[in-house]
Symmetry: C2
Subunit: 699 residues, 2 copies
């Protein structure tokens, strides 16, 4: 599943790129690219596909596209505020609405009338309204001859200032986005929506048929969609820009477009960075995911209620494990990595022949030095700063309370970015969320990560000893989780309002733990940000050198902002066998039969009952050549007419190298076909009224 | 499950002990101890339990006890060669008899007549016949002033010589066992049996009801037993010493005895060794098990046939993970470890006040130095010498072929121990086993471990580069597994007969891989053995010092040789709640209902059908205070009359610290009650004839 994966430490935040290497072993076509809406590939679409991309077409698509703050994409599909996304993008929200007695994730949900639609707990949707270039203002704010640290601080200050001004002037969420490693700074303004209600969700066994085993595989049979409705002032939001529903859906061979929010790519990492990923970051990350997967699987196996409580966490971990293992396999493949290294060597050779190439060559060295400085502190950063040593919602809330109090006392421009005025609303939405938090699961997770912390940093580490306070990891976790009050929303509101004094007076054990580690955690974060700044400035130099040598028809690395991807619905070959572009409903029942209905290949009761009613020839899932990545989950696929023909939910296994390079040879995006959505709503769920709303664009 | 866990590197082979620390926090009673049959705790049994342990009683029990070379224990239970053990001890053999069409592990098996009993593929049973003290001869063979290396070589030589002589003189398998860190050397002579036939196995869902989630937990409802029959000359072996079946079975509160083969304990590790385990060995081991568990689980989930093929591997890995996590939790608990460290400090303080204490104090330092030398090479030893970097049957067979050819050219006394003349038959039994090996699973396992090897040693390591030969781990694994012929038994026989020349001429890629790494692998093994020798000699000094200061009523650490453990059937308290000593059949059906029959809490079809026929009050599993450890699985539990009352199959979670110290507060051994065995055979399996054979001791 193409989650926007949040587990990455801050040191590996988007390393932006300005141009991609042409890898000798990978075919690259017009399909490649995650294009800015402000700079789409008009010429190549015209030349290769005879398609005239108009401003009106693009603007309509932009306003119909939706970002989920839980890490995915979606789109408006009716004038009455109806939004479609993936079930797995909505699952966090659905999980939070579920209880032991009423498991919406497992059993699905259908609101048969508007008053049955259930308000979500803490979901935030963003719809992009405008893009403004603020590069000149940002650059002007950096003093000449500033040190790296001064430049970082000045940039943070001016970005916060721009965001705050915009927020106050327009009332819109305003984010300054760094593109092309600081080659460009764009101000993205979003309309925020927070009254989001659940309209329809299939059973998780239908949405994620095949579960983890089939994740990142193809052929597939997943009904991975869910419907929400945006409300404003207590009524469905009237929407002008929504996607019309194609009467036929995606057709093999046709040109289509994906509009969504790819999270992060790393296509211009230097060899120093790639080798670090291969040799250190990815093995550690895979190890940590294995550990968490075993923990959550075994805990889930103890009882059905445990399984329900851990389901969403576990799905995320399993998904992350597949992604990271795929990343690592790509970098451990000498053919793949060798091509990247050779391309860098070739580029450096050209630089040596260029008059001002020395500056770019020196930039490579600065990146390597920064990477090495990051590596030195990577372990403690991962455990203490990104908080993997304290895996629990309770710790995360405790730290947010502690830091919110400290940061709010500072001028806006000097705060950690997530505490700036422009982000306050989103922060509060999360902090005051009524999401259920289960102390038993919290203890299990925290105990495991404390045990890992002890093993990693050593039991004799002075900070570790203070953290454990003479107890075993298990005892300490139980004491912290049982002792803290942060799971009480009223308590959080009280402390947030009361500031540092109230936070200190509470003497809450989890907050005191966050305080204990915060000096080092903050220092580690600062260190990471400074090294990232060095890298960013060096990448800007490389970027300029590449522009000069190789031209400017480029797109930036993904930044979880809206992008346009172009591609065709097209099968591929695997081990010499052709894989067809589109699956049909009959395949679902066949695979279920072969697997003897055992989970996760079991049919939900409704599907078993209604099997005969479903037209076996209905297109179910399809693959296409779009250049996508985590965060694109839930992105609409539209045809030349701008009509909805499907919804992205995954890539195949071969696409897992897309972090580092695009290929259209075997790598494919995987979508739910629009036809099976209508067929399922009518024939399986008796929800023809929703099919009608999709087809007609209104209730 | 109490497997004798084989995953430990050679550097952590039995660190023998001569006396146990009295831990201030753990209550220690007469129950503690894994006693030699040649030195049982007669006085304490007389004093505490008014039980007169006679030589005849002991000798009968010894001859009725059976060792499984797959890593467990068992006992004769009829005059016609019938042997009872755990299903999970027999599962390796049962798996090897299973195919995709006929899954005996999943579906169980009942031989309804003698000619339906199925010969096992490569099972070897050993029955202890005699124990002889050879300490004087071993010690006499070590030259005065020998260096560590010379002493190691001389000891290896004389042990091989004694074993060979005994083998030739008696025809019995003859093993010299090192006890009390070289305080004693005993020659154990065993009758070997290799014509073993499967008589009865329940479904794995009945044997391991609750699967991994319930493993090492209590209360339990596992029918964890299986029946085999030993044949000699094509007929059931007539057996004089077999255990009579108790008409009532285990009773709460009664004194009972366990006769079995505990694999390994580490109760006298020094602080240097314990800290190494806590900080390095156990975290690495847990990480490796997590990795394997995720690999096998995900591969199993892809299809039912995958699941069948990986089932036995997966169960072993999951079991190992629970053991290691339990070990680590014990050592990460400051109360537990602190007591151990304090005891060592107190003992050292006493040594300082003793005239010749200096030698013992110096021995501690030598152990710490040896441990540090082992730690320096631990990573490469694990990957290259113990072979974790090449996880596959194919590699293991290839290395055995390579080394057998090289070792057989050396004098018997200079060979690696497993290639000595005395062990030839067991080696050949394994090497020529017809066990099914599945190339698809082999590739998956080998690819994963090669990937781990690259990540651990670095892709630029020269040996790693030779191992991968320019391919990705996945490609290389496929090439090796598909290219080797070692899975063909005829090929193995040919190479084994042909010696080094034949092996070299075969140019088999997997054997050539084994050859490539063998210089370093052998050097690492030698290094480990030398450090172990240093530790062993130092431990002998400590042992003598302890004898002098604390007396001699002691038992040695476990060595996978026959031991007697004494204990009572007794419940315990957990989180303040009493846990009853014996469960009954009704509890099985109740737990199944609460878990809604989902695996691994599902009832096998026969059990679902016959539920009403089973007497709900039948005793099912029980707990007792016996001091046991991995390898004790399948050990008979007998009463004062020497009658079979149950069979050990597990310990509870609280017993997982037993590697390092015994406790009877919460730690318990878990057994199948003899009553449920009869009840199940009669009421569920229509196998009353087997129940009758058990009750009457003959067919």
């Amino acid at each position: 599943m193409f989650f926007h994966f949040e587990g990455m430490p801050i040191t590996l935040r988007p390393i932006l790129s300005a141009l991609l290497f042409l890898l000798p072993l990978l075919s690259v076509r017009a399909e490649e690219g995650m294009w800015l809406f402000s700079n789409p590939p008009r010429e190549s679409l015209q030349a290769n596909h005879d398609f005239n991309l108009t401003d009106a077409w693009l603007h309509h698509l932009m306003r119909a596209s939706v970002r989920f703050n839980s890490g995915g994409s979606g789109s408006f599909v009716s004038a009455d505020g109806l939004v479609i996304t993936n079930h797995h993008v909505g699952s966090d929200a659905i999980q939070k609405l579920s209880t032991a007695e009423r498991d919406l994730l497992r059993d699905g949900f259908i609101a048969r009338s508007p008053d049955e639609e259930i308000p979500c707990v803490d979901l935030e949707l963003n719809v992009l309204q405008s893009i403004e270039d603020v590069t000149a203002r940002v650059n002007a704010a950096i003093p000449l001859n500033a040190t790296d640290a001064e430049a970082t601080a000045a940039r943070r200050r001016v970005m916060a200032e721009i965001e705050k001004e915009s927020r106050e002037a327009t009332g819109l969420r305003s984010d300054v986005v760094t593109l092309y490693q600081g080659g460009l700074y764009h101000l993205y303004r979003y309309q925020r929506y927070t009254d989001i209600r659940l309209v329809f969700a299939p059973e998780s066994s239908a949405a994620a048929f095949g579960g983890d085993p089939d994740n990142f595989e193809y052929p597939r049979y997943c009904l991975d969609f869910a419907l929400f409705r945006v409300y404003a002032d207590g009524r469905p939001l009237p929407v002008q820009d929504f996607l019309a529903w194609s009467p036929v859906g995606a057709q093999a061979g046709e040109l289509t477009f994906v509009s969504g929010h790819p999270g992060r790519t790393s296509r211009l990492l230097t060899s120093a960075e790639l080798l670090y990923l291969r040799d250190h970051f990815l093995p550690a990350s895979v190890g940590s995911l294995h550990r968490r997967e075993v923990l959550l699987s075994t805990w889930s196996a103890r009882s059905l209620e445990n399984a329900r409580r851990a389901q969403d966490d576990l799905a995320g971990v399993q998904n992350g494990r597949k992604v990271r293992e795929g990343n690592l396999a790509a970098l451990q493949d000498p053919a793949f990595l060798g091509a990247r290294l050779a391309a860098e060597a070739a580029f450096k050779a050209r630089l040596r022949d260029t008059a001002d190439g020395a500056a770019a060559l020196a930039a490579y060295d600065r990146i390597a030095a920064a990477q090495s400085a990051l590596a030195d502190k990577a372990l403690r950063t991962r455990l203490l700063s990104t908080g993997q040593g304290f895996w629990s919602e309770s710790f995360s809330l405790a730290r947010t309370l502690l830091r919110a109090a400290e940061e709010s006392a500072k001028p806006n421009g000097e705060r950690l970015r997530e505490y700036s005025d422009a982000r306050r609303e989103s922060l509060e939405l999360k902090l005051f969320s009524e999401q259920p938090i289960h102390p038993d699961l919290e203890i299990v997770k925290l105990a495991d990560s404390l045990s890992h912390l002890v093993a990693s940093l050593g039991a004799d580490d002075p900070l570790v000893q203070q953290i454990l306070a003479g107890q075993s990891p298990r005892q300490r976790a139980a004491a912290l989780v049982n002792g803290t009050r942060v799971r009480d929303v009223a308590f959080r509101r009280e402390l947030y309002a009361g500031g540092s004094e109230a936070v200190r007076a509470a003497r809450d054990p989890m907050i005191e733990l966050a305080r204990l580690i915060d000096p080092e955690a903050r220092a580690l974060r600062l260190h990471s940000e400074q090294q990232d700044e060095i890298k960013q400035q060096a990448q800007a130099v490389l970027s300029a050198a590449r522009f000069a040598l190789e031209g400017t028809n480029v797109y930036p690395d993904a930044t979880f902002t809206l992008r346009l991807s172009c591609g065709t619905v097209e099968g591929y070959e695997e081990d010499g066998q052709p894989v067809p572009p589109i699956t049909v409903a009959a395949g679902l029942f066949e695979r279920n039969r072969l697997q003897q209905n055992r989970p996760p290949f079991d049919l939900a009761p409704r599907w078993a009952e209604r099997a005969a009613a479903v037209d076996p020839a209905t297109p179910f899932n399809f693959v296409s050549t779009h250049d996508i990545i985590g965060g694109n989950s839930g992105s609409p696929v539209v045809n030349r007419a701008g009509e909805f023909v499907g919804i992205i939910f995954d890539g195949n296994r071969q696409s897992l190298s897309a972090d580092y390079a695009y290929s259209d040879v075997e790598a494919r995006a995987v979508s739910v076909h629009s036809a099976i959505i209508l067929e399922a709503l009518r024939k399986v769920y008796d929800a023809g009224f929703l099919a009608d709303e999709l087809l007609h664009g209104r209730r």
